[in-house]
C-alpha cells in the first residue's frame, strides 16, 4: 500500500502541476490576444484624431477662405488676390502639419530594434527640421543617449510608447529650445524604468508649461496623458534660459517583460 502511494503521489502531483500550467498558459494567451485587439482599436482612434486635428481642419479652413475669394470675384480683385496669397500659405501650413502627423504614424515604434539604439537615430532625423519655417532656426544641437544599468527587456507596447514620448520630447528640444546639447538618459533599475530627455536651451514658456500646447502637436498634456494611459508618470522641469528636463518613470512590473523564473515560482506555489 505504502509503495503504491509512493508511486501514485508523485505522479498525481506532476499531473496536477501540468494541468495548472496548461490552464495558466491558456489564460495568458487569451489575455495577450485580447490585449492586441484593444491596442489596435486604440491605435485607430488615435490615427483618426490626429488626421482630424491636423490635415482635415486645415483644409476645411482653407476651403472657407477660397469661398471668400470666390465671392470677391470679379469685382474686388485686389482683396481677392490678398486672400489667395493667404490661402496658399495656409495650404502649405496644412500640408506641413499633415506631413508631420503622417510621419508620426510611420514611426509607430522602433520595431525590432532596442530602445537606446532607436533613440540614438533621432538626432540625425531632427537635424534638418530645424530649418523648417515656423521653427526656431539655428545651429543643430549636439545629441547623445546615455544608458545606465544593464538593459532589461521591455514589454513591446511599453517600448513603443516610451519611444514615442521620448521622440516628441527630443523633437521639441530640437525645434524650439535653441539648445547646445540635447541628452536622453535611460535608466534600467530593478524597481523602476526611467527615461529623461533634457536640453540646455531657452526653457519653456510658463504658460506652455502650465496648460498650453501648440496646435497639431500633442505637446506636454498629450505626453502626460499617454504616459498615464499605460501606467507611467511624467514630470517636467523647466526654467527660462536654463533648459528643460522631461522625466518618464515606470514601475518595473509595468515596464519589463516578466521573467520565466516568476512563472516557475508561481506554479511551485500553486502546488
Amino acid at each position: 500500500m505504502l509503495e503504491y502511494l509512493c508511486i501514485i503521489l508523485p505522479v498525481g502531483v506532476l499531473a496536477v502541476a501540468h494541468l495548472l500550467r496548461v490552464r495558466y498558459l491558456n489564460q495568458r494567451l487569451e489575455e495577450s490576444l485580447e490585449q492586441r485587439l484593444e491596442d489596435r482599436i486604440k491605435e485607430r482612434t488615435r490615427i483618426a484624431r490626429e488626421l482630424h486635428d491636423s490635415l482635415l481642419q486645415g483644409v476645411q479652413g482653407m476651403m472657407f477662405r477660397l469661398e471668400a475669394v470666390r465671392r470677391l470675384l470679379p469685382n474686388r480683385l485686389a482683396e481677392a488676390a490678398d486672400h489667395l496669397d493667404v490661402a496658399i500659405d495656409r495650404g502649405l501650413a496644412a500640408i506641413n502639419e499633415g506631413r508631420q502627423a503622417v510621419g508620426e504614424l510611420r514611426v509607430a515604434g522602433p520595431a525590432g530594434t532596442d530602445l537606446p539604439q532607436a533613440l540614438a537615430h533621432l538626432g540625425s532625423e531632427f537635424e534638418p527640421e530645424i530649418q523648417l519655417p515656423g521653427n526656431d532656426r539655428g545651429a543643430a544641437p549636439d545629441f547623445r543617449v546615455l544608458v545606465q544599468g544593464r538593459a532589461i527587456a521591455l514589454k513591446p507596447i511599453v517600448r513603443d510608447e516610451v519611444y514615442r514620448i521620448a521622440r516628441e520630447a527630443v523633437r521639441n528640444s530640437f525645434r524650439h529650445a535653441r539648445a547646445g546639447l540635447v541628452e536622453v538618459e535611460i535608466v534600467f533599475a530593478e524597481g523602476t524604468f526611467t527615461v529623461r530627455v533634457r536640453d540646455d536651451g531657452v526653457g519653456l514658456d510658463p504658460a506652455v508649461l502650465e496648460h498650453g500646447y501648440r496646435k497639431g502637436h500633442w505637446g506636454l498634456p498629450g505626453m502626460r496623458e499617454r504616459a498615464l494611459e499605460f501606467g507611467g508618470e511624467l514630470q517636467v522641469w523647466s526654467q527660462r534660459n536654463a533648459g528643460t528636463e522631461i522625466e518618464l518613470k515606470l514601475d518595473a512590473r509595468i515596464a519589463y517583460v516578466r521573467r520565466p523564473r516568476a512563472l516557475r515560482w508561481r506554479i511551485a506555489r500553486e502546488n
Binding site: E34, Q35, L37, E38, D39, R40, I41, K42, E43, R44, T45, A48, R49, H52, D53, L56, Q57, G58, Q60, G61, M62, M63, F64, R65, E67, A68, R71, L72, E79, H83, V86, R90, A93, A94, K215, E229
Partner: protein, 209 residues
C-alpha cells in the same frame, strides 16, 4: 449700413486655420461682423457673455468643454441664443444631441459651399435649418433603439482600447455587467465586434474621437 443692422457673430473652433477661414469668409459680407472667437467651450461661454452675439458658430469637438455642453450652458443662461453647429461629424446621434441641446442649425464643414452665409441669415431671421444629408441620417436611424448613457460611456472606453476588465474598473461595475453592456451595444449597432462597433459609433457621431 449702420452697426445695428449688422449680424454680430461669435465663432468657436479649436483649430486656428478653421477660425481663420471662417473669419475671411464672413469678412467679405457687408451685413455681417465677426465680433469674437473662442477655441474651447469654456471660452465660448465667456465670449458669449462679453459680446452677446446674434449668431454663434459652434464646433463640437474641443478640449475644455465640448460644443454640446457649451450649447447647453449658453442656452441655459440665454434661452434666446441662436447657435449654428459647424461640425466635421455627419452622424445622426451627434446632430440629435446638438439640436436637443438647443442649436438651431447643423452644418457639416465639408459641405458648406455657399450654405454657411445663407444659413447665418436664415437662422438670424428666426428659422431652423438642418442639412439634407444630416436630416436623412437622422431619419434612417430614428426607429432604432438608442444607446443608453451608460452604453455610450462604455463605447468611449472601448474606443480608448480598454478591456472589459478595465471598463468594469473605470465604471466601478463588475466584469459581467461590463460584458452585458458590450453585448447590448453590439446588438443595437448591428456590429460584428468591438472594432466594428467603434467604427460605426464614430461614423454616426455616437462618440467623439
Amino acid at each position: 449700413m449702420s452697426d445695428k443692422s449688422l449680424i454680430r457673430i461669435l465663432c468657436v473652433d479649436d483649430h486656428p486655420l478653421l477660425l481663420d477661414g471662417v473669419a475671411a469668409l464672413i469678412g467679405t459680407e457687408p451685413d455681417m461682423k465677426l465680433v469674437a472667437e473662442a477655441t474651447s467651450g469654456m471660452e465660448a461661454v465667456r465670449q458669449f457673455r462679453a459680446t452677446l452675439p446674434d449668431i454663434t458658430l459652434m464646433d463640437l469637438q474641443m478640449r475644455e468643454m465640448n460644443g454640446i455642453d457649451a450649447i447647453g450652458a449658453i442656452r441655459t443662461e440665454w434661452p434666446r441664443a441662436r447657435i449654428i453647429v459647424l461640425s466635421t461629424f455627419g452622424g445622426d446621434a451627434m446632430a440629435q444631441r446638438a439640436l436637443k441641446a438647443g442649436a438651431q442649425a447643423y452644418l457639416l464643414k465639408g459641405h458648406v459651399r455657399g450654405e454657411l452665409l445663407d444659413t447665418i441669415r436664415v437662422v438670424h431671421g428666426g428659422a431652423r435649418w438642418v442639412q439634407a444629408e444630416v436630416a436623412s441620417s437622422i431619419a434612417t436611424h430614428v426607429s432604432e433603439t438608442a444607446l443608453t448613457d451608460r452604453e455610450v460611456e462604455v463605447l468611449g472606453l472601448i474606443a480608448n482600447g480598454k478591456s472589459n476588465k478595465l471598463i468594469a474598473y473605470n465604471l466601478s461595475i463588475n466584469e459581467e455587467t461590463a460584458k452585458t453592456h458590450v453585448k447590448n451595444i453590439l446588438a443595437k449597432l448591428h456590429a460584428n465586434d468591438r472594432t466594428h462597433a467603434v467604427t460605426l459609433a464614430l461614423r454616426r457621431g455616437i462618440i467623439l474621437i
